[in-house]
Amino acid sequence: MRRRTIGSVLVGPSLLLVAGCYSGATQLRTSALAYLYPKGSPAIPPSDVQLKVPVRVGVAFAPSGATWQDTFTEPQKIALLTRLADAFRGREGFESVQVIPSNYLSAGGSFDDLDRLAAAFGIDLVALVSYDQFQFHDSSRWSLAYLTIVGAYVIEGEENDTRTLMDATIFDIASRSMLFHATGQSRVRAESTPIDASKVNREKREEGFELAMSDLIRNLDSAVAGFQKQAARGTVRGPGTPKIEVRDLETGAARPAAGGAGALAIPELAGAALLALLGLAARRRRGAGPAA
């Protein structure tokens, strides 16, 4: 009896380990701030912004430091950036939006990197997309069935929880000022067999990015509207932040924001002409004298 107890104490945990009852997490992460302000670099104070509309925008992912860890492939990034570029296109004040592949940016390249991009692509603003994706892996109690070998093929005992945060930050390259940003997030859960775990994890990572980008694009409207409202008041993000002046690209004239017009239309002009003519006719009929 005692021997059986000792055996169960030793074998039990071993079985659990063999069956794959473990927890773990993987993280994919990039940061626009880490790209623009790498460690040791001094903070560059933003200057006042002078935008010449319509502006030309480049969209790019902030480069990640450790590329060998990053399973977020370039084609996926380009596809997501294209969606973001489409969301910018057609908006008032945006002339062109270009997708910039990751290999044009170097980790820690800072604003010098952006200056080169501005010259090469002819852009005024850049939308730097950062992401932070955590993927949690857990094995459920069903993973004990993996011991049967067949169970590893049919029992979905692997749990996957993918949480993604994506943020697009728009910078004015010339002034080094951040104009606005929009954030999107997603959470995707899945279960899989250990045989398919790697494939499902990869699919869920992609789905997490897709959903986070969709959320980001939805939030872009309010971010742009908020920026336009602030710009109308003359500053980027309220008192204490850089001043902003919007000028027309062609004429150079200050572009109005929240402007009002006291404008009459053709009907009023026609009415005025009719009124004046009738008044003149009536006056002649009466033979009125000159005004006082």
Partner: protein, 205 residues
């Protein structure tokens, strides 16, 4: 037309507005700018009504001003000055106090509306012929209806293209019209010797 009856005031005001609108910087220094006004540029309350966003807008506003101004001045120069002064004050105060979301404003439609109301009231109160009176009242009604519809729906009617971020403000038409009406009422109650017999009060002819 002798020199005395020439509408000098109207011509001068229209010419000044045209000159301001034709400034090379687009009248930036003269437009109503809330921030500039708060910084002490008080003249913008008035000069904002002398500059325009587009050439089309300037053309229609100033043509209306010239046509109606010449007519009203022909009837009474004092009434013209009073209508312009009252409407300019009402529009300037209205934009600043009643429209806090408006950061910049340009246009002389308030002045045009004032002269429209003053001219129409003058015709309407003249009494003869009767069809002219009805036509003047109809014109007033249509002007008020258009301004009210634009105000309540927030959609300008028949307005031409304006720069991005600029919207027609119907409230200034109502305020300008009010200024024109007040000018008629004031002149009707306090006729001057010079105006008597020449339409000094609305319908006084």
């Amino acid at each position: 037309m002798d020199a005395r009856s020439f509408p000098w005031v109207c011509a001068a005001v229209t010419a000044a507005c045209a000159a301001c609108s034709a400034l090379p910087d687009g009248g930036v220094a003269l437009e109503y700018d809330r921030a500039g006004l708060c910084a002490g540029s008080i003249w913008r309350l008035l000069t904002g009504q002398m500059v325009h966003w587009t050439a089309r807008m300037a053309w229609i506003d100033l043509s209306t001003l010239l046509l109606l101004g010449a007519w009203v001045e022909g009837r009474s120069r004092r009434r013209l000055v009073l209508a312009l002064a009252l409407s300019a004050a009402l529009v300037g105060a209205g934009v600043h106090l009643l429209l806090p979301d408006i950061e910049r404003y340009r246009g002389s439609s308030g002045l045009g509306s004032a002269l429209f109301v003053a001219g129409a009231l003058d015709l309407a109160s003249a009494g003869r012929p009767r069809w002219l009176r009805r036509l003047a009242l109809l014109g007033l009604l249509l002007l008020a209806a258009k301004a009210a519809a634009e105000y309540w729906t927030g959609t300008p009617l028949f307005s031409g293209p304006l720069p991005a971020g600029v919207e027609v403000v119907p409230l200034v038409h109502l305020l300008g019209g009010l200024g024109g009406g007040l000018a008629c009422v004031v002149r009707s109650r306090r006729p001057s010797t010079a105006d008597q017999g020449t339409g000094g009060k609305c319908g006084g002819a």
